[in-house]
């Protein structure tokens, strides 16, 4: 009983941190005390936090290492940006347009997550990681050869080149191959980002504390035992993976509507990004959603705050990353931290 309450409390601490962070930021914004750099970073912070929460569900609760989450982000980003660019003139209310775009982006990511999960979840461990990595790359490469445009005669789709579309003079290119989508409206905002994070946190917390969540965790801990008590392994695996992909997709929507240009480069939607998201998850603590959000924020802020070091910036960033990883996960560091905490407790009790 006590333990359950503690868990509930814990969840509310997470929400409280997000809300307090939001209020602090808004207060700074209103009083004009925030630098342009920080203002520009607010939406990316939300994007990466969301992604990390999504992946943490897959890695921490389903226990499957996915290296393809940047791919789902890519799907969410492109499908929603496609919608927004096409409907830019038809729907002028940016909030309505963004909500529809969000639903489309999330749904597409979920759909692809589901389709990919069917074959992929037959594997596990390293094999699954490799296959998801490959799928992530496929998504990126397919997006890079897509040419879609429309003119008075209708829609044109090609996967070879812009000329192959045969667009009329009045035609508009929507997805222009490697050049991606340009002119996406700026519909993302920090408020929307924070709302999305809270929604995502509520979903994952409720899921993991429900019957479904316990079933998912039982599969993670021992698949054979789970099967023997009658849990439908395939169903729960698919469910968790799809939700995870959907959250990553919503992060992609946020990403796409923050910049006016959207291209699928190895840098933003390739495996580098997938690994970066995994780093957020591992650093924040596998299975710890609050940790994911915090780690994503710190690791996104860090390289920007280190701009003052100019050329040494990325070098220092890498060193800090190693140091943080050691501090969080090295057995000796854990023992040292526990000793330190015990000391604090002692002095606290004495005082």
């Amino acid at each position: 009983m006590f333990k359950k309450n503690l868990k509930k409390n814990n969840v509310f601490v997470t929400y409280a941190i997000v809300v307090v962070a939001y209020i602090v930021v808004e207060a700074l914004l209103l009083t004009g005390n925030m630098s342009s750099l920080m203002q520009g970073l607010l939406v990316p912070l939300c994007t990466y936090s969301l992604c990390a929460v999504g992946l943490n569900l897959c890695v921490g609760y389903l226990g499957e290492l996915s290296l393809g989450h940047a791919g789902f982000m890519c799907i969410g980003a492109f499908s929603s940006a496609f919608f927004s660019v096409v409907m830019q003139d038809a729907i002028t209310n940016s909030i309505v347009r963004f909500i529809i775009a969000l639903i489309i982006g999330t749904a597409f990511a979920a759909l692809f997550g589901f389709l990919i999960a069917i074959p992929v979840l037959r594997l596990n461990g390293d094999y699954l990681a490799i296959v998801t990595l490959a799928f992530g790359e496929i998504i990126k490469n397919v997006v890079n050869v897509l040419y879609i445009g429309y003119d008075s005669t209708g829609w044109h789709i090609s996967i070879s080149s812009q000329q192959a579309l045969g667009l009329a003079e009045d035609g508009t290119m929507v997805i222009n191959g490697a050049q991606g989508i340009t002119g996406t409206p700026h519909d993302s905002s920090f408020t929307i980002g924070v709302i999305l994070i809270i929604i995502a946190l509520i979903i994952v917390h409720n899921l993991t504390n429900s019957r479904t969540g316990r079933a998912v965790m039982s599969i993670r801990d021992n698949q054979i035992a789970a099967e023997s008590v009658g849990i439908n392994v395939k169903k729960y695996k698919l469910l968790a993976f799809t939700i995870s992909a959907a959250i990553a997709g919503s992060a992609g929507v946020l990403y796409a509507h923050n910049l006016s240009t959207l291209t699928a480069l190895p840098k933003n939607f390739g495996y580098n990004m997938s690994i970066m998201i995994l780093v957020f998850v591992v650093l924040g603590g596998i299975g710890n959603f609050r940790g994911s959000v915090i780690a994503a924020c710190i690791l996104t802020l860090l390289p920007e705050l280190l701009r003052g070091l100019s050329d040494y910036r990325m070098l220092i960033y890498a060193i800090v990353l190693i140091a943080m990883m050691l501090f969080n996960w090295a057995p000796a560091a854990i023992v040292w931290r526990q000793k330190l905490k015990a000391k604090f407790k002692k002095t606290g009790e004495e005082a």
Partner: protein
């Protein structure tokens, strides 16, 4: 309890992070370690603050570094000679890792520094994202090398380099006019905006000029180390001219592999090919007879080029490429426009932006990358591409 302590610590660190972010903005630029020696004494209203953005880390770092170095040379020269309208110039260059999101961060960081004019960004995709932000803030932007037409769709952005379509069209016309080849093969980088942009226009114009394209093969950034398949396809199709609209690092591999398989068509490149002669470990004899259209040749003999090249070589130990030349020109173009507009640093960035924007169309500039350069209100530059051919390891003009 354990988690509470932990979370408190993390909240503290996050807040500290946020505050640190604010601190660096509210304090003067003197606290930040800038790329410029002048910005240490930069005080608002007494110097022009020019910002630069480009990749100085990551895969595209050579372009950003070249631009940063050349901009620094130009700014130092201007300051030695009395500055712009009598005011000194401060330059700060920020890294964007060739990523749109990072580029916007770099732009915001420059805005915190107090940037009034932006000489960037270097690469196209980040430039589109930044161009949107400069349009919002009304800041004047001139890009040395971002060549897509999407870059200049806002009226506050101007280009020093040719637009991609322009280069594609010019190349096709050049080949047709000089009768360099009839059966043409193209290899291009489908994952690169620059390369696919040039290729798209080249194809259209080549058809209009009656040139026959017999082979079109693509590669991507993930597969740019082996071109034997593409070369075989071109050879099998009997192409006598191979058009290579991409950067020199890949071009060097293409030339090497073509030589290995004994395939000897005429090679024709674009301005990205410039730099191939100074590439490390590249046998320049392979580049014999390669033709390219470039606005800049490092071994030209005019005074301006020789002075720039010798200064760049002396300071940075390498021959400047076309990016460096474009960037050097960009700073001087800003100077020319600023003098035409009669602006001073006490004006707001937006006012300077408006004044420069209006002055740009009346400016005529002779620089490293062309003489009599003029700008349309759209931001596109008018200059003639120069055709050069590599003979005995140096560029020789074809015309």
């Amino acid at each position: 309890m354990k988690k509470k302590v932990l979370s408190l610590m993390l909240i503290a660190s996050m807040t500290a992070g946020l505050l640190a972010g604010c601190a660096s903005s509210s304090s003067d630029s003197s606290s930040s370690d800038s790329a410029s020696s002048d910005s240490a004494e930069a005080v608002d209203g007494e110097v022009f603050k020019i910002g630069g953005i480009g990749p100085v880390t990551g895969a595209a770092a050579i372009y950003g570094t070249a631009v940063r170095n050349a901009e620094q040379i130009a700014v130092d020269e201007i300051n030695e000679n009395g500055g712009i309208n009598g005011y000194q110039v401060a330059l700060q260059f920020e890294d964007d890792e060739h990523d749109a999101e990072k580029s916007v961060n770099a732009y915001n960081s420059l805005k915190d520094w107090g940037m009034q004019i932006l000489a960037g960004t270097v690469t196209t995709t980040p430039c589109i994202a930044v161009a949107d932000k400069t349009a919002e803030d009304g800041i004047f932007q001139i890009t040395p090398s971002a060549s897509s037409t999407d870059v200049i769709k806002n009226d506050n952005v101007f280009q020093v380099c040719f637009t991609d379509p322009n280069q594609g069209t010019a190349s096709a016309q050049y080949i047709a006019e000089k009768g360099l080849g009839t059966k043409i093969a193209v290899i291009y980088d489908s994952s690169d905006v620059y390369s696919s942009g040039i290729y798209a226009k080249f194809k259209t114009e080549a058809e209009a000029q009656g040139l026959e394209i017999v082979s079109e093969t693509a590669f991507t950034a993930d597969s740019n180390t082996d071109f034997s398949v593409q070369l075989q396809s071109a050879k099998d199709a009997g192409a006598d001219l191979l058009f290579l609209p991409f950067y020199y690092q890949q071009a060097a591999i293409v030339l090497k592999q073509a030589n290995d398989m004994g395939y000897e068509p005429t090679f024709f490149g674009v301005d990205g090919m410039d730099g191939i002669l100074t590439l490390e470990n590249f046998d320049t004899s392979l580049a014999e007879g390669v033709m390219l259209l470039t606005p800049f040749a490092a071994d030209a003999t005019d005074d301006l080029t020789t002075a720039f090249v010798s200064k760049y070589t002396e300071l940075y130990g390498e021959t400047p490429n076309q990016f460096a030349a474009d960037a050097y020109d960009a700073i001087y173009i800003i100077k020319a426009a600023a003098e035409a507009a009669g602006i001073d640093p006490t004006m707001s960035a937006a006012d300077i932006g408006t004044a420069l924007k209006e002055a740009m169309v009346s400016v005529t500039y002779d620089g490293l990358t062309g003489t009599g350069m003029k700008w349309e209100a759209t931001g596109e530059v008018n200059k003639d591409p120069k055709g050069v051919v590599i003979q005995d390891g140096v560029y020789v003009s074809i015309d």
